[in-house]
Symmetry: C2
Subunit: 412 residues, 2 copies
Amino acid sequence: MRAEIISVGTELLLGEIVDTNAAFLGRRLAELGVDIYHRQTVGDNQGRLVAAFKLALSRSDLVLVSGGLGPTMDDLTREALAEVLGARLVLDEGAVRHLEAYFTRLGRPMTDNNRRQAYRPEGADFIANRRGTAPGILARYQGRTIVCMPGVPRELETMFEEEVVPRLFGTSTGEKRVIKSRTLLLTGLGESAAENAIADIIKEQTNPTIASYAGLGEVRLRLTAAAAGAEEALALIEPLEAKLRERLGDAIYGVDGDTLEGVVAEKLIKGGLVLAVAESCTGGLVSHRLTNIPGSSAFFRQGLIVYSNEAKKELLDVPDELLEEYGAVSPQVAEAMAKEVRLVGDADLGLAITGIAGPGGATPTKPVGLVYLALARDGECLVEKHTFSGQREEVKYRASQAALNLLRLHLR
Amino acid sequence: MRAEIISVGTELLLGEIVDTNAAFLGRRLAELGVDIYHRQTVGDNQGRLVAAFKLALSRSDLVLVSGGLGPTMDDLTREALAEVLGARLVLDEGAVRHLEAYFTRLGRPMTDNNRRQAYRPEGADFIANRRGTAPGILARYQGRTIVCMPGVPRELETMFEEEVVPRLFGTSTGEKRVIKSRTLLLTGLGESAAENAIADIIKEQTNPTIASYAGLGEVRLRLTAAAAGAEEALALIEPLEAKLRERLGDAIYGVDGDTLEGVVAEKLIKGGLVLAVAESCTGGLVSHRLTNIPGSSAFFRQGLIVYSNEAKKELLDVPDELLEEYGAVSPQVAEAMAKEVRLVGDADLGLAITGIAGPGGATPTKPVGLVYLALARDGECLVEKHTFSGQREEVKYRASQAALNLLRLHLR
């Protein structure tokens, strides 16, 4: 089966928003073993939408459309689809009732433009939208399938998983060629260094293939195998993964959808450990990332953002002499912060980050990007020095990544 | 002039990463008055790359390519371009010296695969990369122009602004049709409500057009005008913007690239005010967003993340009785947090957020998404109740957005 993705919205073409839906659908289609050769992006214009739908239906078995189903006047996917199918738009009474119930539940009045969403091309099916107002539409056309989903990512994702996949793939016989991928997530070394370390392995590989991608503060290695079935594909990936793990060791922090904060959180929860965080240059980002993990209250009770020297002194008793002699961005102050936040927070571990995120704040001896990390535990304190490149937000993120990695390596 | 964007990378097709480069280039091309009708996404495969380049050069005057110029073996843009141009790849000695100097500056050895980046098709020009190792390539082909840029967003953006725009548009005579856009950023009301409030204005508009987009915790209204020149286009936008501002009032927090945290930071800096933040359910996100703004140390000295009841008691003296009688997620506790963090932080303003981010933590009377905000100033304390929809990270973000908006409206 050959699939094509069409992303609808002038805001996409003009770059007002980035196309996360196409990325989501691409990922899921790959996992489902469906080939994707084409992706189109089209604006909110009925004529161009019709042309894009026709082109897609001429060359692909399955067309997945995102966007243009909402209540506003520039949402034209319904109209374009009806034109392509040669069907008129009909009001679906079930959909009207569903919309009315949705607004009643929210305690808000239903505006007139919302009623537009209850229209569908005659002969096409509605797809339930559990997370929003715009239903999806599934239509068949000359043996091809076209599925229109709303553009709001959480609505599209839920609809795709809960409604579209079962309808399209539920009866799959498994006869088609299956592609399986596994991504190894690395942090603490760059893309070139990572690829150099495994250049000989990459060279001899054809199935699975290995591709490396540089992310902010991490590198991803994607292993992709093709086989007759999912199990065979996974069996091809396993020995290669083992070989890469032997070579790269601790640099691998996780796989696929793992996050560094998720991996760290799991280790803390398993170990029954409590962490206290003192952040200066990261400004709350480390705490934010850790508290993105459901259940983080098991290990995270408090974090102190000691942005100014006064805050470092008042909240963490960092001695004046340390600040004067070494400066706030120094191994000495990082260590004092980590030790004290551990005590103040009555925690097993104290993590501290102090650095210069830029663009201001640099001195002749302390450049933008200089960051000290410290991790205090009973009787010991590890201190690390890093120099990160990039803009302010990149430095903050790289520093948070290194801090979480320090924690991860310590918790092995 | 008609432009086309080609994004290169199997990781894009398979959805491993989202295509922010295409969004950036789309936005900039629109601002430069260049029409974009096509966007293609292609994997790391020389044959398919060649086909995509040929198709693009057959229908577009300007082809902007991102990605596939790096040092690794799956970077094939150079090779594909050479094939399309019918030119051989030659080693550029200037580029070799540049690469060597780059690695010397970083204090790292230059690996062999990095040398690949110094090859370009004979007859094509290199474009300097001030932020990374891979140079860009500019080639002319049968009166068309093709520009290849690295896929790392900060490298692409800098190269496009500093090198590509001056070469392609520097001598523009201004005779072409210019499109100008202005985006009004709203928070505190939904997309349907916003569009309903201005439905009559939208209906009568053709140039400029108005399009509305729903973001997380905000709505964007984009006004787009087309005219012979930039000034004429802007003159069309101005009266419409004034009309919308009169109708929507305080819901508009900024325009174009503004951020809510940036707007709030500017007001705090202008007013010479110091803010202290106490976060529970947002876990550091409000502080993180505020400290993303360069110069935030002028108003932000400390933030307390009081995630547990113990932390609320110890760091902010929240009375046991309040926690027991009303619970941590209550207007009473929000108010106590805001007042105390203001005192502890010796600040003009104290901002507090307490709520249930989910998925756990809900009670029969307190659902996931319930959030109380409080803002304490000398002699007064504002308290707000919100119920946000969405997953954990969405609730955190919406809560941070509402907290920053409370601050913004108070600072008018």
